[in-house]
Symmetry: C2
Subunit: 225 residues, 2 copies
DNA sequence: GAAGAACTGGACTGTCTAGTATGATTCCCG
DNA sequence: CGGGAATCATACTAGACAGTCCAGTTCTTC
C-alpha cells in the first residue's frame, strides 16, 4: 500500500514561515492561506472578508492592500490551485505507469492513487467551489478547468500512449478520450457520491480497491493487448 | 434523431394554471416555480426572497405563509425535483433498452439520450446547486442523491440485467456497478466540462454522438456477448 | 537610529436581506 | 351576496457584510 503513504495531491496551504522573507510577502501568504480555507468552507458568498483577515492574523486594511477586492482574491486562490493539482497528478502518472511491466497492476495502482487523492476533503471542497461559481465567474472557473482538469487528462493520455509504445496497451486512436474513459470508469461513482453527499460519509476502504480493480478490468477488455 | 425530439427529462416548472384549482394552491405552485428559477440561477445565498415573491407575482407575506422560511423552501424545491428526474430517466431506459434486439444500437441510443437530457441547462444548474449546498444542507442534498441519483443508476442496472436475461449482454456480477461504469464512460467528459465551464460553451452536436459510440464500444468489449 | 513604509484596530458608510407587522383589498364559499 | 379568510402593498427591524478612513504603532532599510 505504498501509494497511501504519499503526500496528498494538494492541501490548502498553511502559512509556512519562510526564512528571510519580508513582512509583506509573509502576510500575503497568510492571507492566501486563510482565504483558501474560508472560501472552501463557506463558498464565495458565504465567505466574509472579516473572517479572512481574522484567520490570517492581519488587519482588513492589509487584505485590501494586497488584493483589490473579494473577486480578485477569489480568482487568485482558484487559479493558484490548478498548478499544484496538476503537478500532483503528473507525479501519480509517473510513479505508477512509467517503468511498469504489468499493465493491469500499473493501472490498478494508478486508479487507487487517483481515488485516494481526489476524494480527499480539500480537493472535493475545491471542486464544489469551482462548480458552484462557474456561472458567477466563468473566465476564472473556465481557466481552472482548462489548465487544471483538461490538461491533466491530456497528460494521462500521453502516459497511456507511452504504455502503448511499450506494447502494454493496444493502439489508441484518441489517447485523451481513452484517458477520460479510464477516469470515468474509476471515478464516476465515488466522485458523484462525494460531491453530492456532504463532506461526511467517507468511502469504505475496501470499496475503493474493488472499484479500481473492476474499472481496470473493463478498460483492459477494450484496450488491453 | 428521434430521441432529440423527446421532452426534456426535467424543466423548471412554469406556474401552469390548473382548472378548478383554488387560489391558495395556485399561488403555492407559482411560488415553487419562481423559487426554483431563482435558486437555480443565483444559488442559495444569492437568492433573495423578495425576488422569489416578485417573480411569483405574490406578496412576500404569502411566501412566508406557505413556507416557513428560506431553508424549507429550498428543501422543498430540491426534493421535489428528484422524482421528476427519476421518472424521466426510467422512461429513457424503457424507450431505448426494453424490446431492443441489437445491444450496440440500443446502448448508443441510450447514451445519446442521456447526454442530451443531462447536459440541458436546467439539469446542470440543479446539479450545481445541490453540489454547492451539500455541506450546508447535508440531509436534503444527501436525500436528493440517494433517492434521485443512486436510485436511477440502480434502475439502469436492472435494465441491463434484463438485457442479460435476453442474451444480449454477458452475465453481470454487479449490475449497479456496470451501470455506473456505463454512465462514467458516457458522461464523465461532457459532464465535467459542463459543470466546470459555465452554462455557456455548449458541446458540439457531433462530438456527443462520437462520445456515445466510443463509450459503448468500450462497454461492450467488457460486457458484450 | 531615523525616516518612511507597512500594518493595526476600530469605527463608519452604504447597501442588502430575512423575516415581521399592519391596514386595506380581493377572493372564495356557503 | 355577505362574511371570513387569504392576499396585497408597504414599511419596518435587526443584522450582516464589502469596502473606506484615520490615528497610532511596528517593522524594515539605509
Amino acid at each position: 500500500m505504498e501509494y497511501r503513504q504519499r503526500a496528498a495531491v494538494w492541501q490548502p496551504g498553511q502559512a509556512v514561515e519562510i526564512e528571510g522573507e519580508g513582512r509583506t510577502p509573509r502576510k500575503r501568504r497568510a492571507i492566501l492561506a486563510a482565504a483558501t480555507e474560508v472560501f472552501l468552507q463557506h463558498g464565495y458568498l458565504g465567505a466574509s472578508m472579516d473572517e479572512v483577515a481574522a484567520k490570517a492574523g492581519v488587519s482588513k486594511q492589509t487584505v485590501y492592500k494586497q488584493f483589490e477586492n473579494k473577486e480578485r482574491l477569489f480568482a487568485e486562490i482558484v487559479l493558484g490551485t490548478s498548478d499544484q493539482l496538476m503537478d500532483g497528478l503528473a507525479q501519480a502518472y509517473a510513479d505508477t505507469l512509467e517503468g511498469a511491466t504489468d499493465p493491469r497492476e500499473a493501472l490498478r495502482a494508478l486508479a487507487r492513487r487517483l481515488l485516494d487523492s481526489l476524494t480527499a476533503g480539500s480537493v472535493l471542497q475545491l471542486r464544489r467551489l469551482v462548480i458552484a461559481e462557474a456561472d458567477r465567474f466563468p473566465e476564472v472557473c473556465g481557466a481552472w478547468f482548462n489548465t487544471g482538469f483538461e490538461r491533466s487528462l491530456e497528460a494521462l493520455g500521453e502516459a497511456l500512449t507511452r504504455l502503448t509504445e511499450r506494447g502494454l496497451l493496444r493502439e489508441l486512436d484518441d489517447p485523451t478520450l481513452a484517458a477520460y474513459q479510464f477516469a470515468g470508469l474509476v471515478m464516476y461513482k465515488p466522485m458523484n457520491r462525494a460531491m453530492f453527499a456532504g463532506t461526511h460519509a467517507g468511502p469504505v476502504a475496501g470499496e475503493l480497491d474493488q472499484l479500481a480493480d473492476q474499472a481496470v478490468d473493463v478498460f483492459l477488455a477494450a484496450y488491453g493487448t
